[in-house]
């Protein structure tokens, strides 16, 4: 992804600037430092609020911790985590978030790869049309599918006895559907850049489609699959609307609903909100930073044509 490629761009490569600005370097650096500080401040503020005792929230701002660092305590985390897996609690919501996100990510990555393979290397008519449909689907808002899918689930339930509405599976199915267009697009981009000769050679040797896919294309496509997985993971982890529709009335719901619930009904309990908020952002942060290099390497590899 060119997006993150630029993030990783080493500063050592000297480029002539687009815009030659006259002001002194030190002024520039100060401005940039101020911007960076302003950008970091909200996250740091949240972290500090979650590390202060509940009673202090309304009395003094979190910035007072700079003069009184002894305020900091882990008691909010301890209280919420020691609740254990009580339904609707922080840990339970964390678990539900994981239950929704991990399978969705895996399914999207796998199915996107399969479909993209078919579009990129298949020889059937209408491939291009399908591809354009997929590009079109990329911008379709989820609102368009919510009600019919609820109806679909209900119909399925009356036929088979299992109604996915109100279950994690129902949410996963929905998320996968809306992750596929972008996933197929991304993987198709990557696959199209692979040298055809490799596949031709293997076909001549008698390899079937499946071994072509699993032994050659898939391993080569891992970097792109990794970047897809990360985007999908973060998108599903952070989703609120789909979860609200399908799990809003359930006993177990993901972190986004946990936070939404807290804000709507008990906004004064900021010790819960900030602690939950920190937990909610720490997971994608860890995913992002751990896979950033792999992610970037994959993107760079995929970008080389």
């Amino acid at each position: 992804m060119s997006a993150v490629q630029a993030v990783a761009q080493p500063a050592a490569v000297k480029r002539r600037s687009t815009f030659r600005i006259r002001p002194a370097k030190w002024l520039l650096n100060i401005v940039v430092i101020l911007i960076a500080a302003f950008w970091l401040m909200p996250t740091i503020g949240l972290a500090i609020i979650s590390l202060r005792p509940e009673a202090l929230f309304q009395q003094s701002g979190w910035w007072t911790v700079l003069t009184a660092p002894s305020q900091l305590t882990l008691q909010n985390y301890q209280t919420l985590f020691s609740q254990g897996l009580v339904s609707g609690g922080l840990l339970d919501s964390l678990l539900t978030s994981a239950e929704i996100t991990v399978p969705s990510t895996l399914l999207v990555t796998i199915i996107s790869s399969l479909t993209a393979y078919s579009i990129a290397f298949g020889r059937w008519r209408g491939r291009t049309l399908c591809f354009f449909i997929i590009i079109g689907l990329m911008v379709v808002p989820v609102q368009v599918a919510l009600i019919p899918v609820v109806q679909l689930y209900r119909a399925f339930g009356s036929v088979t006895g299992f109604n996915p509405f109100g279950t994690v599976i129902g949410v996963i199915i929905f998320h996968v559907a809306f992750g596929l267009p972008f996933g197929i697009f991304l993987m198709n981009n990557f696959y199209s850049g692979l040298p055809r000769e490799l596949l031709e050679a293997a076909r001549i040797d008698g390899a079937g489609e499946w071994s072509l896919f699993s032994r050659i294309v898939l391993p080569l496509g891992l970097p792109a699959a990794a970047s897809l997985a990360i985007f999908q993971f973060i998108w599903v982890w952070n989703d609120l609307l789909v979860a609200l529709v399908f799990l809003g009335a359930s006993k177990h719901f993901p972190l986004t609903i946990f936070l939404f619930d807290q804000i709507r009904t008990l906004a004064a309990n900021y010790w819960i909100i900030s602690t939950g908020g920190m937990v909610s952002i720490l997971v994608p942060l860890i995913v992002f930073f751990s896979f950033q290099r792999y992610f970037v390497r994959g993107v760079l590899a995929g970008a080389v044509k």
Binding site: A55, A267, A268
Partner: protein, 457 residues
């Protein structure tokens, strides 16, 4: 309302903590409780209560099961009780007895003949309830329900320590007294009210009470059904009266802006803060579910006008803070409406006439079951045979007394407005932002239009 059920849940837990020490002995004393003979068999029972409330309810049914030998199969339906019963009746498989939170459901089912009249079964047990209550569940001259649980939304909560600091020795008895006390509080440098706004429902509750106290229970019900138009002069009077209090921003902590920033329950925290924070106002209006928020803020809070251990009430929540309420006052010209109460409740109806269900209905009409739950906290009953001593403190006693003595009882008007309920809430916020008389006229016209569209008449 969903939020009320949630808070009912928390109320059970919180008040239970308070109540456990206060009551001695087992629940349920004398009164005209019917002699339950051994009946045996079983009965299906539906109600809205789940989780903690379910436990409390089943505890109150325990003596019945022992005395009569009837096994109760209970199912808690939560917010969907009315819908569940309607579909069960339509499907031909209703429970034997059910408790519904909505008297309108009782009327509908009675008119369809889906529930049984109870006059002959109850006999003189019907005198356990005031006429205001029985009237609500009477259809075509026959009684169809017994009230088991009630909630009082006729309450203004105040911080006794702040009242003491302002030299107010007794809470206001009339609306004029309330305004006078507000001035006194302001002279003492204390903000009179912390106004809850949220998405508008606390404002609607407040206004409804003003309407009830100025126009009376009959007019209230007519307005709820939209047989009275919203452009009616009684509605204007209610707005103008309400404006006497909330139209003056010096009466509100933080002024209008500060009030609009108040979601529920932050407004309660401004009067009954957590330890370490100072109260910012002396009074807050909302239903009796407010107590669960107060006790959740700190276990130091004592109900009544003296603090823990008989100490004086302090504004410092870390020491001996108190909470108390007074009945929503009526203007002295409308003192006839003093006893009108707005609230909620759960009424027991009989869907299948069996010996078991008859015995259960008789038990629920008696004070025994109610006393047990009263002891556990988070509960009040309109049954006049439930002894005051069942309630854990003076606040809940007074709360229950207001229910029992109600001369007229009405259910929340906004909940009866169907699809335009949210618009009504928004209109109330509109009023707060601009309480001028021209805006009142505009809002009234708007509300009447919304009512016609939303209710279809």
């Amino acid at each position: 309302m969903k939020h009320m059920n949630n808070f009912g849940l928390i109320a059970a837990g919180a008040l239970a903590a308070l109540a456990v020490g206060a009551c001695g002995g087992s629940g349920g004393t004398g009164g005209s409780s019917p002699a339950t003979t051994q009946v045996g068999g079983s009965a299906t029972l539906w109600a809205e209560w789940t989780s903690t409330e379910q436990q409390d309810f089943l505890a109150s049914l325990a003596p019945f099961e022992t005395q009569s030998g009837v096994t109760i199969n209970y199912s808690g339906k939560g917010n969907n009780t009315d819908t569940a019963i309607a579909s069960a009746v339509a499907g031909g498989a209703p429970p034997d007895v059910a408790l519904v939170p909505d008297p309108a459901t009782v009327q509908t089912l009675a008119s369809k003949g889906s529930i049984k009249p109870l006059d002959s079964i109850l006999g003189n047990l019907t005198s356990n309830y005031g006429s205001a209550w029985n009237q609500l569940v009477t259809s075509n001259g026959k009684l169809y329900g017994v009230w088991f649980k009630g909630a009082n939304k006729n309450t203004i909560w105040y911080n006794p320590a702040e009242f003491n600091a302002a030299g107010i020795t007794s809470p206001p008895a009339t609306w004029e007294d309330l305004l006078k006390d507000a001035s006194t509080l302001k002279a003492a440098g204390i903000a009179p009210f912390s106004l809850c706004t949220d998405i508008g429902w606390p404002m609607a509750d407040f206004w409804q009470n003003v309407y009830l106290k100025t126009a009376g229970a009959q007019a209230y019900n007519a307005l709820a059904a939209h047989t009275t138009k919203w452009t009616d002069p009684t509605v204007t009077t209610a707005f103008t009266t309400f404006g006497q209090l909330v139209g003056d921003p010096t009466n509100l902590a933080g002024g209008v802006q500060g009030s609009l920033a108040n979601n529920y329950p932050e407004c309660v925290d401004k009067v009954f803060p957590k330890p370490g924070a100072q109260p910012q106002a002396a009074m807050v209006f909302e239903g009796d579910f407010v107590t669960s928020e107060i006790t959740a803020n700190s276990s130091n809070y004592t109900g009544g006008t003296t603090g823990a251990g008989g100490a004086a009430c302090t504004t410092d929540a870390a020491k001996t803070p108190c909470y108390n309420f007074f009945d929503f006052p009526a203007p002295s010209a409308d003192s006839a409406n003093k006893g009108a109460v707005q609230g909620a409740g759960d009424v027991a109806i009989m869907l299948k006439d069996t010996p078991q269900s008859e015995a259960l209905i008789k038990y629920l009409a008696g004070p025994q079951g109610a006393s047990i739950w009263a002891h556990l906290g988070g509960f009040a009953s309109p049954n006049n045979k439930v002894p005051s001593s069942s309630y854990p403190d003076s606040v809940t006693q007074a709360d229950a007394k207001a229910l029992v003595d109600a001369t007229g009882f009405v259910f929340s008007l906004d909940d009866l407005q169907g699809t335009w309920e949210k618009n009504m809430w928004q209109d109330m916020l509109d009023f707060l932002r601009n309480p001028s008389s021209s805006n009142i006229t505009a809002i009234q016209a708007k509300m009447d239009q919304e009512a016609t569209t939303g209710l279809g008449h």
